[in-house]
């Protein structure tokens, strides 16, 4: 790597990286690494420098380096961040503490177990269930720009799970369906082509769904895609309440 050969005069930045190596015992520790400081480097670049030049045993997930794959989320100085979008220059000259995303079980070093979240996406049916199936010969399911606008914000989610790391409700009770999964359920509920809102209702309108949320709003604050999951959950609460009143006050009415 070029950076390591530019001489002793270059400035360095300290990383304090969380280490957990289950094959070597159950204790955790912070390991310090000194990496070259470059103002165009992000935390992920620094971690890759460690992996390539200093310590090949360090494990972490990453892929696209451009904020769309959602796999490089970690705690950077206690804040859930996409490490591909967290610039060293925003921390320099102070050391940077890097930990795995909070609230998730750690498999090794900075790698978390994401099975729980994947299961939740399935539970809420985070995919489009067409209102009426039609043969391909009949063409596309059309939608107006106004209909698109209603769910577009929630569709920007990249499943990076920063919102789960920020959510104290999820931290206390992993059964909580959580921000991203509910936002994605709302994304499909609000889609004019979708017809599975009733199937999703049982999961997301339950106690483990929207009603466990106490509107801390930190999910929205840490979201790198401005999805506003907290907004999605509160709007789902309003929709559920309206539904309930409609059923109680107009029992003879159509659903």
């Amino acid at each position: 790597m070029e950076a390591s050969k530019t001489g002793q005069t270059e400035s360095m930045i300290e990383l304090e990286v969380f280490r957990y190596l289950p094959d070597q015992g159950e204790e955790t520790a912070f390991q310090r690494y000194s990496v070259p400081y470059r103002d165009d480097w992000v935390v992920l670049d620094a971690l890759n420098y460690v992996k390539d030049e200093l310590d090949g045993t360090l494990s972490f997930r990453w892929s696209c380096r451009m904020g769309v794959c959602g796999s490089c989320g970690m705690m950077v100085n206690g804040e859930p961040k996409l490490t591909c979008a967290a610039f060293l220059r925003d921390y320099y000259p102070n050391p940077i503490r890097i930990e795995p995303l909070s609230n998730f079980p750690v498999i090794r070093d900075l790698v978390i177990n994401i099975d729980d979240f994947m299961g939740k996406l399935e539970e809420v049916k985070a995919w489009l269930v067409p209102k009426e199936e039609k043969p391909v010969s009949e063409g596309e399911y059309l939608q107006t720009p106004a209909e698109l606008a209603h769910y577009k914000q929630f569709s920007m989610c990249i499943n990076c799970m920063l919102c789960y790391a920020a959510c104290p409700v999820y931290g206390h009770d992993p059964k909580f369906i959580g921000p991203a999964a509910i936002a994605l359920a709302q994304r499909y509920n609000l889609d004019s082509r979708d017809g599975a809102a009733d199937e999703r209702a049982e999961v997301i309108f339950s106690h483990e769904g929207i009603w466990q949320c106490t509107f801390v709003d930190d999910c929205t604050r840490v979201c790198p895609k401005d999805v506003d999951p907290a907004g999605a959950i509160q709007q789902a609460k309003v929709a559920a309440t309206k539904d309930w009143f409609r059923k109680v006050l107009v029992p003879w009415g159509k659903k």
Binding site: E26, A149, G171, H172, A230, V238
Partner: protein
């Protein structure tokens, strides 16, 4: 598939009891939630007024006691803080659409502030009209 995969032990990250001191946003959330004690408490206290309608002077004297003045001085900023945080969150819950455009969150929160101000002025006006 079919093969036994031995899973290594995972490290469980649990939330410390002082979790709400770990992030500024958590702390502000706790403050917001705790101020509701004063909102509810003061509302309950005002309900006492209903039981003292036969003796408004006595109730007024009670309100003027040093202890209750102190309580009200504490309760007022708490209630104001609670109201401000409440109103600031309304645009997230109330989503209005004008065709393809979402009605600006500033407009929704702003309308709530205007309503709050108008109601407060009307109540103050009634209160001072009688004194």
């Amino acid at each position: 598939m079919g093969k036994e995969v031995k899973k290594s032990k995972e490290y469980i990250q649990s939330m410390p009891a002082n979790w709400w001191l770990k992030r500024k946003t958590y702390f502000l959330y706790m403050v917001r939630e705790l101020t509701c004690v004063f909102v509810g408490g003061y509302a309950l206290f005002l309900l006492l007024l209903a039981t003292r309608l036969d003796d408004p002077q006595g109730f007024a004297a009670l309100l003027h006691s040093p202890l209750l003045i102190a309580l009200q001085i504490i309760a007022l900023p708490m209630v104001v803080y609670h109201s401000i945080t409440w109103i600031n969150l309304t645009p997230k819950v109330m989503v209005l659409w004008r065709g393809e455009e979402r009605v600006s969150p500033l407009l929704i929160a702003g309308a709530n502030y205007v309503l709050w101000a108008v109601v407060s002025i009307v109540i103050l006006w009634i209160a001072f009209l009688n004194s």
